[in-house]
Structure formats: structure tokens, C-alpha cells
Symmetry: C2
Subunit: 225 residues, 2 copies
């Protein structure tokens, strides 16, 4: 990626870009790296400062991890999104550890945390952008929390399946029960049991080779309300 | 509370106070109200804009509520603290509904949400203060989430009891099992069962009249690691 392309990416990602001084733009450009993450790579690991990640293609998954290795997915990021929680040194009020993995082969640009923090500390507009970017994810995380704590499993699985097909198109979810359980912060057994129930009701068709096919979207939707 | 006292409270609560213009200070002062909330009052209810609440004495509890009426306590606020989530119009990236109750008889000052938002929109320093105040609670909420989702009940109850006695002093927790369950986002039966277990182990002594007395703090602490 040449400087021209990088500048365009920054302009699209940072609303303050055109108002930065030449020196600050240099700081951003010089501290940035093109990074290619293969599917399944752990990119950020707790409270180190990996930097601000811009996703050019692919997808990243943010999650928290218990001492016993249990994961809960907070949210996923896609092309055009920006990951701010991987820059721990920029957000000093954030004291919990977030993990980031690439879910697909992903092309990213990583802006060095120290360079970003240096600009953000001096320019209120950059600071406000950063805080708002972080705070906007608070709502996503609360949504996940409410899903897990308040909702019954059938409702949650129905919402998950509908979300998946609306994201990927088509009518089939090509994820294993294990993967679904991980995304939902649940256990594989619970997911399998519920899918079996959906299947017996004629709502989905589950096959090892082709995944989970939604047969009755209307009834699945009825479960979500 | 006269203007002099109110000014002192604002100076102590808002680090930007001395840098506000006279007009902006007037805006804050004129939009503020002394409010006394009796113990158990619901102060804020979802996404209305109640305003920014400064707690002079007493305590407030923030929680989320499921459709079925299940509550999960996010955190509590005490004298000197500031509640920003009750001013929904100030934080437009926050889309989840938070509820606020007074836990004790509480004296508060409520700064009108519109007045606050007007100043915050114009002055970056105020905006940054507001966003940081909100974001700093993200970590508290994640802590609660991890407690509920990852930890076993004995560990969680041990931490809760130790927290309580360190806050109130003494060695006795004067809360009902129902109240403890509510604070922990658990069920009364679960709390009672675990307290019975702690009691049978000689860690606590439970009595209807005087609450939960911690007999063996060392063993209770051992459960928390």
C-alpha cells in the first residue's frame, strides 16, 4: 500500500484527517504498518498496546476470556471498521482485557499506539473521536450481556441464525455447533440440543456437509420477539 | 443549597468549572435542582433524559432490567460521585436502557440534560470529561459481566461479602438474601443455599435478626482467588 492509498484510507477512517497538521499526518503515516493476518491468528492479547487497527478486508472478532479459557464474543469488525480497544495505551480508563482474533484472512493497517496517543493527547477533536469510538461499543457489549443473561436460549439462537444469513446472504449458516456456541458464549451441547429441537419442528435442516439450512424463516423470526 | 454552596459542589465535581465562561456557569446553575430521593425511589427509567446527577449524600444503584423484570446491578454510586448515564441526551452513542434507584435516602443535585449538552457540545474539554466519565464505567460493567458469566457462585459470594464489610466496616453484612441476590444478578435460592454452605463450614453465621456475620475472613478470602 503506497502513501497515496494509505492517505485515502486514513481520510475515510478518521473524520479529523483533513484538519491535522502536516507533521501529525506524517506521524500517523510513519507509524503505520500493513499487516496481513491469516484466519485464526491471535492479533491482540489482553492489555498490551497493539495499536489502532483499520480493517481493509476480512473480519476480526473481539472477545473476553476467563481464567478457565471460556470465551465470550463481544462483537465482530468488518472491512471499513476500526478497532480501538487494541490500543490499550490510548484508553487509560479501560482496565479489562480484550482479545482480538482474525476470523477470516484479513488485510489491516495498524497505527502505532504511541503515535496515535501523542496526537490524541494534543488535539481535542482526535481525543473526542477516540472516546466516542470506544463508547459506541459499550452499547454492543451491553446488548451481548443482555442476550446472555436475560434471554432464553431458543430466542438467542434464532436471532443468531437470522443475523448470520442476513450478513452472508442465502439461507444456510455454514458454522459448526462449536463455533456457534463460542460466538454465543454458550456450550456446544446446548446449541446442538436447540438445533435438534428446531430441526424436529421443521424450522431448520441440519447436515454435517452443508451446515444449517433455514427452512422456515417466519417461525424463526417469531421466536425472536 | 445556596449559589455559593452549589458553586463549590460544581467546582469539586467538574474539573473544567473554573475555565467556563460566566454565561456557561449561569447555565449550569440555573438548570440545576436540589432533589431529595427517599430510599427505594426510582430516579431514572430507561432512555428519558433525567439529567446529570451529583450525589451529595446517600447512594444510588444503576441496573439493567429484562422484559421479565430480572435486574442486574451494574454498579453503585456514593457521595461525591456523578451519574452521567441518567442524561441520555448527552450520550447519543449509548442505546441501552439504564435504571437508577436510590438505595439510601439521598441528597442530590440534578443538572438539566439540555443545559449540560449545550455546554458539552460547544466546549471540547467538557465533552472529553463527559465521555471519559461514561467510558470509565465500561470497565466496571465488564467486571460485573465477567463475575456473572465466568465465576462460580461461591467465589462471587465471597467477594461480595468481603466488599460489603470493607465498605461498611465491622464484620456483619446487614442485607437480606433477596437483596444480595439482586445485587449479584442471581436468585435468592442460590444465595441462601451458598450461605447455608458457608455457615455449615463455619465461615459465616446467619441470623434473621442481625444479618450475616463473617466468622472466618481468612477462609472467605481463600475462596476469592
Amino acid at each position: 500500500m503506497d502513501t497515496q492509498e494509505l492517505t485515502e484510507l486514513f481520510r475515510a477512517s478518521f473524520p479529523f484527517w483533513d484538519r491535522l497538521s502536516d507533521i501529525d499526518r506524517e506521524t500517523f503515516l510513519n507509524s503505520s504498518q500493513n499487516v496481513y493476518f491469516e484466519k485464526g491468528t491471535n492479533i491482540h492479547n489482553g492489555n498490551e498496546c497493539t495499536g489502532v487497527i483499520l480493517i481493509k478486508s476480512g473480519s476480526l472478532r473481539l472477545y473476553i476470556l476467563s481464567d478457565e479459557g471460556k470465551e465470550i464474543t463481544l462483537y465482530r469488525l468488518f472491512s471499513g471498521d476500526l478497532c480501538i480497544f487494541s490500543a490499550s495505551c490510548v484508553l487509560d480508563t479501560i482496565t479489562f482485557d480484550v482479545f482480538v482474533d482474525s476470523e477470516e484472512n484479513s488485510e489491516c493497517v495498524v497505527v502505532g499506539g504511541c503515535a496515535y496517543e501523542d496526537v490524541s493527547r494534543r488535539l481535542p477533536e482526535v481525543k473526542i473521536f477516540t472516546l466516542e469510538a470506544a463508547l459506541s461499543r459499550f452499547s454492543d457489549v451491553m446488548w451481548v450481556m443482555q442476550q446472555i443473561l436475560f434471554m432464553s436460549m431458543d430466542k438467542r439462537l434464532a436471532i443468531f441464525l437470522l443475523d448470520e444469513i442476513s450478513k452472508t446472504g442465502g439461507d444456510t449458516v455454514r458454522l459448526t455447533h462449536e463455533q456457534i456456541a463460542k460466538y454465543m458464549g454458550s456450550a456446544r451441547e446446548v446449541v446442538s440440543r436447540m438445533l435438534k429441537y428446531f430441526s424436529s419442528e421443521g424450522i431448520v435442516e441440519v447436515s454435517r456437509s452443508s451446515g444449517i439450512k433455514i427452512l422456515d424463516k417466519k417461525r424463526l423470526r417469531a421466536l425472536t420477539v
